[in-house]
């Protein structure tokens, strides 16, 4: 990591620190994606899809709450789900950069969801057997929702890819544009080395993910970009794109304006 823009990042973690980081990976992914999807409310292409996307946003934020509640217990010092969501700044967030990318049009949002939902499906399926009982419980509860989400977003990729010429072109472009943010999902972080192997090492999910994505894109008559092309990274280390600053500024504005208030 030396000699590039990720210089100076922590590379060794105690077991305790690693556990907190791992919860942040999962919780921040869920919160940021839920927050982004909630922006579609009242803007969907058809009423039924407005309802579907709000539902997905609800699932993500619901999962973020469960994860933050547990993280707050581990953190102690008066931390709560809300202090974690509302009183951390961008460099303390650990979400993947993919999730903070703008909603764009329906195709952009659907592709972003498809990439992360497919990742989440394999991740949470594995985490059901995690030695951490709370995390295993959350995974058990979430995996059904995630299976539905992964199906929903894959179906939309297929529909747009194999729909009209216009939709095919648009969604291919979404895939090409978002592709460089996918590699980060499968990096092997030092955090994994300090944890029991039942905390899934994200890098082990890459093969399954590529197989599934390739299959869906083929059905959608779309081209899969090269998985070995140059990928962006930084989110898991707290190095983010400019988008996250705006997402947080908006999300956190009220509690930060009235820090003594309870809502």
């Amino acid at each position: 990591m030396n000699g590039g823009w990720l210089a100076g990042k922590k590379s060794q973690f105690t077991k305790d620190e690693a556990l907190k980081e791992y919860f942040k990976f999962l919780a921040d992914d869920a919160l940021i994606l839920g927050q982004q999807l909630s922006r579609w409310c009242s803007k969907g292409p058809v009423l039924e899809q407005d309802i579907a996307i709000i539902n997905t946003s609800l699932d993500h934020i619901g999962r973020a709450r469960l994860l933050y509640q547990e993280l707050a217990k581990i953190e102690g010092n008066g931390a709560t789900e809300d202090t974690l969501a509302y009183f951390r700044d961008h460099q303390e967030f650990r979400n993947a950069l993919l999730l903070e990318q703008p909603n764009g049009h329906w195709g952009d949002s659907v592709v972003r969801s498809f990439f992360i939902d497919t990742f989440n499906f394999f991740l949470y399926d594995g985490l059901r057997r995690c030695e951490n009982q709370v995390l295993a419980g959350i995974a058990e509860k979430s995996v059904k929702e995630i299976a539905y989400q992964a199906q929903w977003s894959a179906e939309w990729v297929i529909r747009l890819g194999d729909g009209t010429e216009e939709s095919h072109e648009k969604v291919q472009k979404s895939i090409d544009n978002l592709w460089m943010w996918t590699g980060e999902l499968f990096e092997k972080y030092p955090v994994f080395e300090s944890l029991d192997s039942s905390f899934i090492d994200f890098s082990t999910l890459k093969t399954q993910w590529i197989e599934k994505v390739a299959l869906v894109l083929e059905t959608a008559t779309l081209q899969m970009p090269n998985p070995e092309s140059w990928m962006q990274t930084g989110g898991r280390l707290g190095v983010h794109t400019s988008h996250l600053g705006f997402i947080l500024a908006e999300m956190q504005s009220l509690p930060r304006t009235y820090p003594d208030a309870a809502w």
Binding site: L31, L47, R65, S167, A261
Partner: protein, 318 residues
């Protein structure tokens, strides 16, 4: 002509006997038209009503509040869908209703032409606006058109829940810091009178009401519903330690009701005629989402057609 009169008489007798009218029954054309107008207007209100609340989803001050608000707006989208379906049983297509909404031909509840600059508005809307809507909708669970009455039973249950949630938001503010309490009062000041306007013009100014009452589409007059709402809500305001922004408000022992001041009818009609602070914004938002979604709907249709064709081809081959 004679036959027509007799059909209408039979219809009136049927409705007078508290029987429900179903989609395939004969009904006067004006009854059908009135219902299409009323149900689609109700559906549009649910859909346009998503906007002032969606405005706060990304800024809800706690994760719990964010979840509750999301779920509420999702319910509203569901109600819209349900009501569009009820109107479709009368022979009106959803495309037609949406195009009437966007052209300004169809109306929606005027209350949603007011803005929501404050988080407190998320509480006040649930408490007062949904509260006023419930007053109307409880009556509609007994309306003479079957599909509408049944839709209302389901919708009322969820609306009551929203009203409790709204009240909870306001209560937290009213019992919170001085800034929060001021926030709640400021919001109440803006929403109190528009909420009373939701019941529509006074009975002597309400041209469609008499016929609707006769057909039992409507079962209580605008003024009766408004009075019930005031009587029910004033004690809630007092419980919160807030003040109703009406210097003429006082309990009338002889009537057994609250007396209240005069609604600003000029504002009421101005907003209905398109001159509220958000009329243009609400429709523009709806039109924009609809237009931006056009290529997505086309793709979904094209894909569905291809799938149907493939299925047919496979079927023919087998």
């Amino acid at each position: 002509m004679g036959t027509n009169v007799s059909l209408e008489d039979n219809f009136q007798t049927y409705v007078d006997g508290e029987n429900k009218v179903e989609p395939k029954d004969w009904m006067p054309e004006k009854y059908r038209k009135t219902l299409i107008r009323q149900i689609s207007q109700h559906a549009h209100s649910e859909i346009i009503g998503m906007q002032p609340e969606a405005n706060w989803i990304t800024r809800a001050p706690s994760l719990r509040a964010k979840l509750i608000l999301l779920a509420k707006v999702q319910d509203e989208a569901g109600h819209g869908l349900y009501l569009y379906s009820a109107a479709e049983t009368l022979g009106e297509s959803r495309e037609k209703m949406i195009s009437d909404l966007q052209s300004g031909k169809a109306k929606y509840s005027s209350i949603f032409n007011y803005p929501t600059p404050s988080w407190a508005d998320m509480g006040t809307i649930g408490w007062l606006v949904d509260g006023a809507a419930i007053q109307n909708q409880v009556m509609l669970t007994r309306t003479s058109y079957g599909p509408y009455a049944r839709a209302m039973v389901k919708i009322c249950k969820e609306e009551s829940f929203h009203q409790r949630q709204g009240y909870e938001v306001v209560m937290k503010l009213a019992q919170g810091t001085p800034e929060q309490k001021a926030m709640a009062q400021e919001s109440l000041n803006r929403w109190w009178w528009p909420s009373l306007m939701m019941f529509g013009p006074s009975d002597d100014e309400s041209p469609n009401s008499a016929q609707s009452m006769k057909w039992k589409i409507k079962r209580k007059s605008n003024d009766t519903l408004r009075q019930e709402f005031v009587d029910k809500t004033v004690p809630q305001v007092e419980y919160l330690g807030l003040t109703v922004p009406d210097s003429d408000l006082k309990w009338n022992e002889a009537r057994g009701h609250y007396d209240f001041g005069i609604i600003n009818w000029d504002e009421f009609y101005a907003v209905i005629q398109g001159n509220g602070p958000c009329n243009k914004e609400r429709i523009a938002h709806h039109v924009e989402a609809h237009e931006e979604g056009a290529w997505v709907r086309e793709a979904a249709n094209a894909f569905a057609q291809k799938q149907a064709q493939r299925k047919k081809n496979t079927g023919a081959a087998a």
